[in-house]
Amino acid sequence: MEISFVRIDDRLIHGQVATVWVKETKCNKIIAVSDEVAADTLRKTLLLQVSPPGINAYVVTIDKAIEAYNNPKYADFKTLFLFTNPSDVLRVVEGGVPFKSVNVGGMCYKEGKKQITGAVSVDKQDLEAFRKLHEKGIELEIRKVASDPKVNLISKIQGL
């Protein structure tokens, strides 16, 4: 399996991802990784419904994502991986999937989170996961859409 792109976006598949990112990243599959969403049949069905034509989409648990990455059956996959949060990314990386760069697109604001850009808010657990990903040498770049300039996430969370 080829890793086309890795994105954190808590809306997972939505208009922007389906219309713009899919074309920019030239992927042929979308794998949305979330234990929570994979267990939620309605949310899962609705997400799969909006996947763009010609691109197979899957919503899977973290364990399943790692297993699928290592399965030679999926050698022709050029996968756009979607996550809702950095802790899940970290678990997949620790499971042996070699992400080099992670795009941080949208993590919406909730009570108790700190807003670091217009589209990205983080809590303590997110910060810890981002730091661990950074220590592993993984690029962390904030961009809502493909044409935005990359913003280095680590520079935005220094001192937090």
Partner: protein, 139 residues
Amino acid sequence: MIGVIVGTHGRFSEELLRSTSMVYGQLENVVGVTFEPGESVNGLVDKFKIALGTIEWSDGVLFLVDLFGGSPYNAASRIAAGYENMDIVSGVNLPMVVDVLVSRSTEQLEDLVKLAIRAGQDSMKSFRTVREIQTEEEL
């Protein structure tokens, strides 16, 4: 680069481009032209000409307008009739604009026109119909 001009009744074109940038990001070489109540088609032709002056269109121009046969369409057609490398697609909607912007760097005008029409048509779907034909594949 193919220049894109969106022309509509009222301020729809401006707002449509604002919506486009939410999905696509910063817009380049695309401009909106509005047709306000009381304006003449001649005035609209002039507005389109002014718009042409603000964009780069060495590879052609694609006009995206709202109503087939409406004033923006008619005014654009008076300009496009004089050039080989211009075309007009009516029925403009958000998926059409986004798809055109995503694809225009790699497509010729003729293909971009086909793609715009397909994007517009394909975007119309019913939730219930999609759900009925949906089949889930497992990894």
